[in-house]
């Protein structure tokens, strides 16, 4: 069985899939580290605290190739997401989880040999380490090998999001091994040089990287005591904790107040959406809520028992949604940032390391509420192309048509020529019937909008 396309850098082992089940082969070279991970109690401690993915050991007959010391069957994470899709709070919690794992590892004579943000995934609303082989025996006196990686993957984007603009997390999509520290240093405001943590870990760090070219290659790395390592991790925890970002005004924060929805209309829409979801058989187990805003309808969808991925273009709306998930312990909603007009592409080596938005998972139901006018009019996407896009995503579709008479559509047309001759209820239905069969159509009371339940043809 070949390794997954993203699992090739670390010679300690790799992940592969066989008959739909995920396995991790631990190679002979990692055997002693794996034994220490288990015997030190670190694995159990991290799993029990929800900081690391659980696995079970299976027989050698499940090995993918020769050289296997152990074969693991890890728990599968249902919805894979990437750091460039996380809001500030998610990246911060992922950073703190990484540092806590490092702290616990140091206390047991181990450390994280890498600190990639891609080793963290969200399960049940919380971040956890999915790469079991990231932990190894602590080499005595060595500086933390993954320190620079931690700063590039977590600290630099967090500082940029907190102190410049939350949209700068998009730089992680360009720089897959984290934001180069010289770039972060150049983009951060000058006052950040007065903040000791940012000054040390980003500005001085970037300068040290620049000047290190003059250091003799054969020179051994400087020694750092165990106390020095623990002190650095302790300081990084404080620095990350001090970085804060609260959504002030969001593109959509006042959306529900500004629509032409009355309270009764909103209640009616809630009831109708729930009715349409309940009509789907078998009951959807994975729902994608596109344009989810702060997640009002994602919550309604998750109340049906489904896992919900709540995508939205606005990092502030996703932040508010994530904070709600944390506050209420909602384990079935994963809020993520996504610009549907330019969705996450396949990235990395051979364009196969990080899956595109379309290849991520296959939802049973896609919800697109109060979204179509933004795509069709705000982004000039013709209705037939929208129909094809939604048909590629999932079998079922709950979609709200927002006609030209609606105040929100009027707003989009206020400063532009109306070139959208096909944008009407008839044009919409005709376009979507080429990929879907219409199951139900219901007007939303007290509005000019209509809800549709479609099922993909074939």
């Amino acid at each position: 069985m070949p390794a997954l396309a993203s699992s090739f850098r670390d010679p300690s082992g790799f992940v592969y899939e066989r008959e739909g089940v995920l396995y991790r082969q631990v190679n002979e070279v990692y055997r002693s580290d794996y034994n220490l991970l288990i015997s030190s109690g670190l694995y159990r401690e991290l799993v029990d605290r929800g900081l690391m993915v659980e696995h079970e050991e299976v027989g050698p007959e499940f090995a993918s190739s020769t050289g296997a010391a152990v074969v693991l069957r890890p728990e599968r994470i249902p919805n894979i997401s990437y750091p460039y899709e996380w809001c500030f709070g998610q990246l911060k919690d992922a950073a703190l989880a990484t540092l806590e794992i490092q702290r616990q590892a140091l206390a047991r004579g181990m450390w994280l040999k890498d600190a990639s943000a891609y080793n963290i995934q969200f399960r049940g609303g919380k971040p956890l380490l999915i790469d079991t082989l990231s932990l190894e025996a602590l080499p005595k006196g060595a500086p933390w090998i993954a320190y620079a990686q931690f700063c590039r993957h977590f600290l630099a984007p967090l500082a940029l999001m907190a102190q410049v603009d939350p949209r700068l997390s998009g730089l992680l999509r360009v720089h897959l091994d984290g934001i180069p520290l010289d770039l972060a240093s150049a983009l951060l405001p000058w006052k950040s040089k007065l903040q000791p943590g940012i000054a040390m870990h980003i500005h001085m760090h970037a300068r040290a990287e620049r000047t290190s070219a003059q250091v003799e290659v054969s020179k051994p790395a400087p020694r750092i005591s165990a106390v020095g390592l623990a002190a650095t991790v302790d300081n990084l925890i404080s620095v990350v904790n001090a970085l804060k970002w609260e959504p002030k005004g969001t593109e959509w924060a006042d959306y529900y107040n500004e629509t032409n929805y009355s309270g009764a209309a909103m209640d009616g829409k809630h009831r109708l959406v729930r009715d349409l979801i309940d009509e789907i058989s078998p009951k959807p187990s994975l729902i994608w809520d596109l344009g989810a805003n702060t997640g009002a309808f994602s919550r309604l969808a998750s109340d049906t028992g489904a896992e919900v991925v709540a995508w939205d273009v606005d990092p502030a709306a996703v932040e508010l949604n994530y904070q709600q998930v944390k506050k209420d312990g909602e384990s079935k909603i994963l809020p993520l940032v996504q610009d549907l007009t330019n969705p996450s592409p396949s990235l990395g080596w051979d364009l196969a390391e990080r899956d595109s938005f379309l290849r991520r998972s296959s939802p049973d139901l896609v919800m697109a509420l109060a979204l179509i006018h933004h795509l069709a009019i705000g982004n000039n996407v013709p209705l037939p192309k929208l129909s094809a896009f939604f048909a590629e995503l999932g079998e079922w579709l709950v979609i709200e048509f927002v006609p030209k008479q609606d105040s929100q559509t009027q707003r989009l047309l206020r400063s532009r020529l109306d070139i959208f001759t096909d944008y009407s209820e008839t044009g919409f239905e005709s376009a979507f019937r080429s990929h879907f069969s219409l199951v139900r159509k219901v007007p939303i009371p007290e509005t000019v909008r209509t809800l549709y339940l479609f099922r993909r043809i074939g």
């Binding site: 090998i145 760090h205 051994p220 790395a221 002190a231």
Partner: protein, 58 residues
């Protein structure tokens, strides 16, 4: 490729020479304060335990 970098041990990512130098400097600066912070936390925990024991004893 696995590097054997002096005292680093086997590593599959490049830790970066500049990073090691700045890390050693930072660790040196922070260590004393960290030890004091740890001892202070231990002392506070010890005092609070003594107080609790005293209260239960009375």
């Amino acid at each position: 490729m696995i590097h054997q970098l002096a005292n680093i041990g086997p590593a599959y990512i490049d830790g970066g020479t500049g990073s090691f130098i700045i890390q050693a400097t930072i660790a040196g600066v922070l260590s004393a304060a960290f030890v004091i912070k740890q001892r202070w936390a231990m002392l506070r925990s010890f005092i609070s335990q003594r107080r609790q024991t005293g209260r239960h004893g009375n």
